[in-house]
C-alpha cells in the first residue's frame, strides 16, 4: 500500500515538476521563451527516445540470451546517453547556456521514470 502511494505520488509530482517547474526555472535563467521551449521540447523528446531505446535493449537482450553482462550494461547506458547527446548538441547549437544543456544528463533518466510511471499507473489499470 505504501509503495503504491509513493508510486502514485511520484506519478503526479514528477510530470508536474518536469513539465511546469523546470520550464519556469529555465525561463528565469534564459529569459527567452524560444530557448525555454527548445529546452523543454528537447528534454521531452530525449526522455521519450531514451525510454524507447532502453526498453528495446531490455526486450531484445533479455536473459537467457548469451550476452555478457558488460555488453548489456554498455548498450543500456548507450540507449539513455545517445538521445541526451543529440539534445545537448542541438541546444548548444541554438545558444542555450552550457550548464543548462548539461542539466539534461541527470534529468532525462528522471524523465524516463516519469514516462514509465505515467504509462504504468494511470493508463494500465
Amino acid at each position: 500500500m505504501t509503495v503504491l502511494l509513493i508510486a502514485v505520488g511520484l506519478t503526479c509530482l514528477l510530470p508536474l515538476l518536469l513539465l511546469f517547474v523546470m520550464p519556469v526555472g529555465a525561463f528565469y535563467t534564459l529569459r527567452s521563451w524560444d530557448q525555454t521551449l527548445n529546452w523543454e521540447a528537447s528534454f521531452i523528446l530525449a526522455s521519450s527516445v531514451a525510454f524507447l531505446g532502453y526498453f528495446r535493449i531490455q526486450d531484445i537482450l533479455a536473459p537467457p540470451l548469451p550476452i555478457p553482462a558488460y555488453l548489456h550494461w554498455a548498450l543500456t547506458i548507450l540507449a539513455i546517453l545517445s538521445p541526451i547527446c543529440i539534445a545537448v548538441a542541438w541546444l548548444r547549437w541554438n545558444g542555450v547556456k552550457g550548464w543548462l544543456c548539461l542539466l539534461l544528463f541527470p534529468l532525462v533518466p528522471i524523465g524516463m521514470i516519469a514516462i514509465w510511471l505515467l504509462i504504468e499507473f494511470p493508463f494500465n489499470s
Binding site: I60, P63, P64, P66, I67, L71, L81, S82, C85, I86
Partner: protein, 206 residues
C-alpha cells in the same frame, strides 16, 4: 591593438572548441541511436540454432506463444479436434550437469505417470516417454523427455480426445525431436558472443 587581437583569438578558439564539442556529442548520439535501434534481435539470429520443433514439423500447427526461456507451444485446431505441444528446452554449458539433472529424475515415473518407453542408447538421445495411466480417458496426454550433450528437452503432448492420434503425433515427432537435439550446436553464438563466457555459465547454473 594587441589585447583586442588576443581577445578575438581566444573567443574564436572557444567558439571552435564549442563547435567541436557539439559535433562530437552529435556524432556520439547518432552512432548510439544507430546501434540501439538498428541492432538485430539476437533471438531471431539464434533461433535457427535452437533445436526446437517448428510449425512445419507438425503440419497445420501454428506458434501460440514464444518465450525467451526456450519455451514454445504449438497448437493444432482442425474442426473440433484440438491438440497442443508444449516444448521446453534447456542448454547446459557443462554437459555433465545435464547428465546429473537427468540422473536425479525418478526412473519409474514422471509427474506421477508411469514411464512407458525408455531409451538408453549411446548413439541417440537418452529419453523417457511417460503417459497418463489411462490413455483412453479424455484428454490423452504424454511427456517426452530427452537429453543429448548440452541440451535437454521436455515435450508435453496433449490431445482433446483420440488416443490413437496422440500416439501418431508422438511417433511422428519423437524422431524429429531427437534429430534436432543431435544436430544442435554445442554452444549458441551471436556474432562474436558465445555462450562460453563465465558470466553466462554462472547465469545458466543459477
Amino acid at each position: 591593438m594587441k589585447p583586442a587581437f588576443f581577445h578575438r583569438l581566444v573567443e574564436n578558439r572557444n567558439l571552435s572548441r564549442d563547435k567541436i564539442g557539439i559535433l562530437l556529442l552529435f556524432a556520439i548520439g547518432v552512432t548510439g541511436h544507430l546501434i540501439v535501434f538498428m541492432i538485430p534481435a539476437p533471438l531471431q539470429i539464434l533461433a535457427p540454432q535452437v533445436p526446437m520443433l517448428a510449425p512445419q514439423d507438425w503440419p497445420g500447427s501454428y506458434i501460440g506463444e514464444e518465450k525467451r526461456g526456450f519455451y514454445q507451444s504449438l497448437y493444432l485446431s482442425q474442426d473440433s479436434v484440438n491438440a497442443f505441444i508444449d516444448q521446453t528446452l534447456v542448454w547446459y554449458a557443462n554437459p555433465d550437469e545435464n547428465v546429473d539433472r537427468w540422473n536425479q529424475l525418478d526412473p519409474e515415473t514422471y509427474n506421477g505417470w508411469p514411464i512407458l518407453e525408455r531409451r538408453m542408447d549411446t548413439d541417440q538421445p537418452v529419453s523417457y516417454l511417460a503417459c497418463n495411466p489411462d490413455l483412453s480417458c479424455s484428454p490423452p496426454q504424454c511427456w517426452y523427455l530427452a537429453y543429448w550433450g548440452h541440451w535437454f528437452t521436455s515435450v508435453f503432448f496433449w490431445r482433446q480426445s483420440d488416443e490413437d492420434l496422440l500416439r501418431q503425433d508422438i511417433h511422428q515427432l519423437i524422431p524429429r525431436i531427437d534429430q534436432l537435439l543431435m544436430s544442435a550446436p554445442d554452444e549458441l553464438c551471436f556474432w562474436f558472443l558465445c555462450t562460453s563466457g563465465n558470466e553466462v555459465r554462472n547465469k545458466n547454473r543459477e
